[in-house]
């Protein structure tokens, strides 16, 4: 492997002003399976591809509920995501306990960013090896944020992370301008289509697809047979397409979505 003298800890800059450990952490996200997030005026949607390490094993959980109005999807090290989601759940509860109001999505994203940033500035600690998309609905409407282990948090209209997410991004860039006025079903449809662009020789199925939608009426997470109607919608419209091969285990890279369930 490539090596250099400035990547043995997260606190030493290289002479060119880079923090290699942090950049490597960003690479870990690309090892995880793809996830897509997109927003309309009234809804925010996540569509994610689940992976299973072996045919006999279960699929890794991708979407984690934080509160009735807030959810995240992860790409990268799942155990790290669990730490972050438990942290965020605590903060969401704190907001309810102290102020009797759901935590704002912007605030939630900022809290995660601050937590991740700390790991990039103390010797001996490791940046989180996971990227997140955060969706939520609060008093200022629907929101989508991308979280990175570098401590960056940015607001998006639509975005994708994980393995081969560039395909989804291209699709979203082409179509995002029409998303604002879509209803929930149409928005999910676009999300599913975007996720399709990340596949090489596999298909979306009920067992490897997770869908989450949040809006005025709260959060709904669809798994297994519940995603069927959304998949059908898409396959009916574009017949032919890709021929199926193997199962939905995504790409040939190392499995990084950890084992903790």
């Amino acid at each position: 492997m490539f090596r250099n003298n400035y990547d043995s800890d997260a606190v030493t800059f290289s002479p060119t002003g880079r923090l290699f450990q942090v950049e490597y952490a960003l690479e870990a996200i690309k090892q995880g399976s793809a996830a897509v997030g997109l927003t309309s005026k009234n809804n925010a949607v996540l569509v994610a591809l689940k992976r299973n390490a072996e045919d006999l094993g279960s699929y890794h959980k991708k979407v984690i509920k934080i509160d009735d109005h807030l959810a995240i999807v992860l790409a990268g090290l799942a155990p790290d995501a669990r730490v972050l989601s438990n942290f965020l759940r605590t903060k969401a509860m704190e907001s309810k306990m102290l102020f009797n109001r759901p935590i704002s999505i912007q605030k939630a994203a900022n809290l995660l960013a601050d937590k991740a940033q700390q790991n990039t500035q103390s010797y001996g600690s490791r940046p989180y090896g996971v990227g997140l998309l955060i969706i939520g609905y609060d008093e200022s409407g629907s929101h989508l944020f991308e979280f990175q282990p570098s401590g960056n948090v940015l607001k998006y209209k639509a975005n994708a992370i994980g393995a081969r997410s560039q395909g989804a991004k291209t699709f979203l860039e082409k179509n995002f301008e029409s998303f604002d006025d879509l209803n929930d079903a149409e928005l999910i449809k676009n999300g599913v289509e975007a996720l399709r662009q990340t596949l090489k020789d596999s298909e979306l199925s009920t067992s490897n697809t997770t869908i989450a939608i949040v809006g005025k009426d709260g959060l709904k997470i669809y798994e297994d047979e519940d995603v069927e109607p959304f998949l059908e919608q898409v396959t009916v419209e574009e017949e032919g397409g890709d021929d199926d091969a193997q199962d939905g285990s995504g790409d040939e890279r190392m499995e990084e979505d950890g084992a903790a369930q």
Binding site: F99, N100, R101, S104, Q106, N110, D138, E139, S140
Partner: protein, 265 residues
């Protein structure tokens, strides 16, 4: 052999027992640290009533030191954000502590770019947790607090909170003496939540002014100068300071019958 040089030349633990570190940690002050056991400078009643579109609330400007009218220009109605006013009675130093806590809270909340201002119900919840936490440490903030404003559903909100963390809500609220003298007058205007829809701003204001007068007549710790605030869900907060109790009558009550031994049954 004792290897720790810090223990050399000291009485041996085996012989004399462990050194009691409370001795070296004891504070070298005249008094031990104390929790509030009684209020010192106090403010008297806060009264409030809901009307169709909002709330009227009032409190006088006096800070009493026991029976001494010590400070005559204390503001006890504290605006928090754009649609909440907190009325505080009880200890004035604790009032000022709460004032600072609320100010800090707002600054903290504004750090996030997107603005998510606190509404009246959020402020009330926070104060309730603060007061209950302090009572649970047996170190209470010696106050009764009325939170008036507009809540997250854009409806008038009125709730009471005290030094024990006891919390309740009602169309009319009053702390201290006001609970005995003003509440009966205010409940004539709005007794049930359903009545509120028929109460106008003018009626509510009139009832509050009348109650402030009765309180000044009968509460020996009150003053005739007060502040009044109207929080309307359409027009927001309007503050009136330096109001005075008007149209008082201190005439000898010669026409009043029914006191003492003249009482007829």
């Amino acid at each position: 052999m004792e290897h720790d040089p810090f223990k050399w030349g000291r009485p041996d633990n085996a012989t004399y027992g462990d050194y009691d570190y409370r001795i070296s940690n004891a504070k070298n002050t005249e008094f031990p640290s104390m929790h509030t056991q009684q209020p010192i400078v106090t403010g008297t009643s806060v009264i409030a009533i809901k009307y169709k579109n909002g709330i009227v609330m009032a409190a006088d400007n006096l800070g009493s030191y026991g029976s001494l009218a010590r400070f005559s220009n204390i503001e006890r109605l504290i605006p928090v954000g754009k649609d909440t006013v907190v009325g505080i009675s009880g200890d004035i130093s604790d009032l000022q502590y709460i004032e600072r806590a609320l100010d800090e809270l707002e600054v903290e909340n504004d750090y996030d770019g997107a603005s998510h201002p606190f509404k009246a119900n959020h402020i009330h919840e926070y104060l309730n947790k603060l007061l209950y936490q302090r009572r649970s440490k047996l170190n209470p903030l010696w106050n009764a607090v009325v939170v008036a404003g507009i809540n997250s559903d854009n409806e008038p909100f009125l709730a009471h909170n005290d030094l024990l963390g006891v919390q309740f809500s009602s169309p009319t609220l009053a702390t201290g003496f006001g609970a005995h003298l003003a509440i009966p007058l205010l409940r004539k205007v709005a007794d049930k939540e359903e009545d509120v829809a028929h109460v106008t701003k003018e009626q509510a204001r009139e009832a509050i002014l009348q109650s402030m007068k009765v309180l000044f007549y009968r509460d020996a710790r009150s003053s005739n100068r007060f502040s009044l605030v109207t929080i309307d869900k359409d027009t927001g907060i309007s503050f009136e300071k330096d109001l005075k109790v008007e149209n008082m009558s201190w005439k000898y009550a010669e026409t009043i019958k029914g006191y003492g031994n003249l009482q007829k049954f």
